[in-house]
Symmetry: C2
Subunit: 144 residues, 2 copies
Amino acid sequence: MRSEIQVFQDYIRRRGLRRTPEREQILREVFAIHGHFDVDGLYLQLRAKGAKVSKASIYRALPLFIDCGLIREVDFTDGHWHYEHIYGHAQHHHLRCLGCGEIQEFQGPAMQGLEEQLATAYGYQIKGHQLEVHGYCTNCRDAK
Amino acid sequence: MRSEIQVFQDYIRRRGLRRTPEREQILREVFAIHGHFDVDGLYLQLRAKGAKVSKASIYRALPLFIDCGLIREVDFTDGHWHYEHIYGHAQHHHLRCLGCGEIQEFQGPAMQGLEEQLATAYGYQIKGHQLEVHGYCTNCRDAK
DNA sequence: GATATTATTGTTATTTATTCTCAATAAAAA
DNA sequence: TTTTTATTGAGAATAAATAACAATAATATC
């Protein structure tokens, strides 16, 4: 399987964009994190490692990673976006607690069939999907 | 079937909150709109009808409507939330174009079974779910 | 390899959705 | 009728994300 970097470089070349060390550092850091991340955390971690990338560059890089299928948006909670990498990961969905924000990942219904149906029915080129179930975890339910 | 207003008043009483004309006006307007809406549009429509409610009150009311199951968040695009009312509407999902933002509603896999499985497996009290498939519509695909 | 072109970067300013503050008001309880 | 306190509106504050712009550096061209 091709590495994230390779996938990204291919995408860069295909789109006529430029290969820069900043983008590569950001991408490496994204894949060094396991689990969900947000712009601020990513920025702090890069800084902690001595990387000199600005937040602006992160904001500019993430849409590219999304567009080439390396990461996806998970949810918009706490007033900002959270992301996860999906390249090389098994498909899964999220169960989110509305109280404490805890997220459980679960395997669930496969969506390939649905995506194909929608593609033909509506003439769409499908890029992905998002299934989130939400409610209150045991603790938060009791706390209410 | 109980009206939206009744559902809301029950909720208000149960939670020990107060019944106010502002909340009622906002709720009426929400259900007068068919289709998706956002805070700004809702505010303008209320104003256009001479209602004197502030945006702050809308921001305060929507979470209550969500909590009692009358509306739900649809997506966070264009930098703000979009909502829809769900009380009295058939369950459905969304197919969203990443280019122009068009949204197609589609009937799809029922989620009750899944919700129950998750409730028992993780000890959650499930409040709802969200399935969105996204990609590019015919027009936007060609435009690229 | 040197030069020209232009995408990308970092800094800073800007935008804008949402939340917060607080005094005034009014709904419900006593 | 009086008291209590949740709610409101206005405006200030917050913060995520975007835009502007000059400086830099990646790629193409010679």
